[in-house]
Symmetry: C2
Subunit: 188 residues, 2 copies
Amino acid sequence: MIEIKRWLKIGELKILSKNSHRSLVGQAFINPKTNMSEEYTFLQGHKDSMIIFPITTEKKLIILRQFRHAADDILIELPGGNIKPNESPKNAATRELLEETGYRAGEIIIFENSKQWFDPSALRSIYIPCIALNCKKISEPQQDPTESLEIRTVSINEWLTMIQGGFVADSKSLATTLLSLQHLNKSY
Amino acid sequence: MIEIKRWLKIGELKILSKNSHRSLVGQAFINPKTNMSEEYTFLQGHKDSMIIFPITTEKKLIILRQFRHAADDILIELPGGNIKPNESPKNAATRELLEETGYRAGEIIIFENSKQWFDPSALRSIYIPCIALNCKKISEPQQDPTESLEIRTVSINEWLTMIQGGFVADSKSLATTLLSLQHLNKSY
């Protein structure tokens, strides 16, 4: 049995490049197997985000289509967005859902213990998955003037068929779906 | 109904910072809503990777514990790794599984249509999920001398309980689990 040890950090985090959303940073660690120092580079996000599995009072799931710049493609995703400074995860999810889709959540259940790394080797950013129940449309989306989102509602079965058919290429949407299905007690 | 348009790239991709694994890059796009140019920054991975849901001949799932530098923590994950130049996804999955765990896959089924973005807003890197069936232990792991991985086998139900309990904080492992359960026809 191999005992897995944490790597100790040595020295300060170095900021190699920075913009308003994220920084490229370098950090040296001691490899506990060799006792040598190794430098790692990763992207550091400046805010955590919420990813939401929103179900309407008609038991439909609210999903989005939007252009994503790193992917250079239009992707189908669950709604979500950044947590603002001093905002609670629940308030952030409520606000983002309303802004992006025009739906107000009746209840939000945060999967507190299930914070997820987008990519724990390259990206120092986490998201908090949650489920929003009894969502009702109360307004038009208040999207950023520079944003373009298409809102759709589908049944959970249609969503799972879209995933199985390869139409959802966004990892966080799949992971949040699995946790939400578990919460809804859909067998797994 | 909003029509979602692709954003057109203008000018070349700028490399802001680079190491052997990834580059921080900048790209200008035309916002189709405003016709103005906007600059986006993201991390570009240099290789795609495979993420594997490996099931042994005894119907156990092979999982790993390892230290992850961006997370600065020890995480529980599915096996996986980078596709080498000129290597097929199937060969990459077979090689990575054998190197990381010492198990040889009897059969590998690639979810070809289900390539996933780790984070389509920040990280230009995709992974290809797959399932490995009838895996047999044929050797000790051939881990990189600087790597430290702990291999465990658990039942699929134990794995799902670990996910539900918040013990798996790696988004790609959850997404690959959902696709694998769908493939195995475990109800969804």
